[in-house]
Amino acid sequence: MSLRLAGVSYRYAGSPNVVLSEVDLVVEQGEVVGIVGPNEAGKSTLCLVAAGLAPGTIAGRLEGTVTIDDLTTSTARPYELAQRCGSLFQNPGTQLSGTTLSVWEEIAFGPRNLGLALDEVVARVNAVVSTLEIGELVERAPARLSGGQAQLVALAGVLALQPAYLVLDEPTSQLDPQGTNLVGDALAGLAARSNVGILVVEHKTDLLAGIASRVAVLDAGRIVAIDASADILADERLPGWGVDQPSSVRLARAAALRGVSVG
């Protein structure tokens, strides 16, 4: 069981440019795969394609196949995909429904869409609130949350659909260090305690170093390197691809240059 992209190329409707080219990628359940790369590398498009939102919701031409377990994204309905693969985008503000009075109801939005029994909706919301440890937020109005809290609530809303995979497009890009830590801790906890497969695009390599088991580098729509997180993030070619190395790697390198050994 896996989220699998095989020979995937993608171009948006009306555009001659190929945004993704011959991408092969597999995310197993319980695994966190990080994606790094320079701007315009196609990272956000990779997220949309992997989650089945492109070309499902955003028109374009897909070549190759994307499968989520036994579902092929090009033929599956969006609501079927949503239950297999949750998506989280950069801007927490646009991911909340904007029509609910409390965080609790916001998290219940997805399960309610499925028409589940009330018992089941309540159970799912309570379970997600407990997993992400956001009990103190449930009574709050979604519009009054900080960026980090809103992103956590958006994540909770997606998790309440109980997807086997998560696709996250720079989930901390608009967050301050405190918000980044909130979301990072939540993802680390999720990966450690559940069997959810996570594909996460992230510029903050310090965050990836802490949660990803493998990291792929995407450049000009192609995967140019993929390996264990520690190996890729320590790769000297990384800055050349427009990606900062984690501070621990930079510190170790600076120390080594000065003849200081770091244990």
Partner: protein, 264 residues
């Protein structure tokens, strides 16, 4: 053991007018809007305006309704000016100043439209200020309203405060880059373009992101959504709604057949 939503989710709104079922408040607002436009030239608008103001005091939203009224000032001012100065075919012109011909009949016509517009917008304002969007949507969905239609209504209502917040952020950002948005009126007008463009384009970008976010939350699942709370309703409120609906139809019918011509 059966699990229930927490009490703050199922808690119904309290207060004399706020506690009414959203459908009752919507029906009242609709009837008031129709009465303001169909019941005579002065009677309907004036009666509705008085009723709406009284309701606002009872519901404790008079101050906020004043803000809604203030928002209509530019429209009201332009209606009054155009009609008072440029009313076509006026026989009681007070003076002629170039193309301008101020007249009593033009002034009265402008006043009539103003009261009508004010009555209708404040009637909707009272419904808006006394009904939480979530309550309205919960009630609409419970009544079998489609999820898309309900969501569009909810989103449209929530767009107003969201756009105001976004506009304020953009004003701050433009000021930080040296744009003068205060002072004389032409400076304010000149500041509208760099404000409007980001608001409009930002809203369009948001629509795409929101659509994707909705799809990612299984919004297009066929069939009814789970109802998590039912807002209180009563036989008396149902009777009032039917009476309002019948009165509304009757009013439109009488107006169209010319039977209300005697009402001033």
């Amino acid at each position: 053991m059966t699990q229930r939503p927490p009490s703050f989710v199922v808690r119904a709104p309290t207060g004399t007018y706020r506690s009414l079922n959203p459908a009752t408040k919507l029906a009242t607002a609709a009837a008031e809007v129709v009465a303001a436009f169909f019941l005579g030239l002065w009677t309907g608008p004036v009666v509705v305006l008085v009723l709406v103001v009284l309701t606002a005091f009872v519901a404790g939203v008079a101050r906020r309704l004043g803000v809604v009224a203030a928002v209509t000032i530019p429209i009201v001012a332009s209606i009054m000016l155009i009609n008072s100065l440029l009313y076509p075919g006026a026989t009681d012109v007070i003076a002629r100043i170039g193309p301008l011909a101020p007249s009593i009949s033009g002034f009265l016509f402008g006043l009539q439209i103003t009261i009508r517009l004010l009555a209708a917008s404040l009637a909707l304002g009272v419904a808006y200020l006394t009904t939480r969007t979530g309550d309205l949507l919960a009630d609409l969905e419970r009544r079998g309203f489609g999820r898309r239609a309900s969501f569009i209504i909810g989103s449209a209502i929530e767009t107003v405060p969201r756009t105001v917040t976004r506009a304020a952020e953009i004003v701050d950002a433009q000021r930080a880059r040296g744009l003068d948005t205060e002072g004389r009126w032409w400076r304010r007008v000149r500041g509208i373009v760099p404000l409007a463009a980001p608001v409009v384009f930002g809203a369009l970008t948001e629509v795409e992101e929101r659509t994707m976010a909705l799809e990612a939350r299984a919004f297009s699942t066929p069939g009814p959504r789970t109802v998590i709370r039912t807002l209180p309703d009563s036989g008396r409120q149902r009777a009032v709604r039917w009476a309002l609906l019948l009165g509304l139809v009757l009013l439109v019918g009488l107006r169209l057949t010319g039977h209300l011509a005697v009402v001033p």
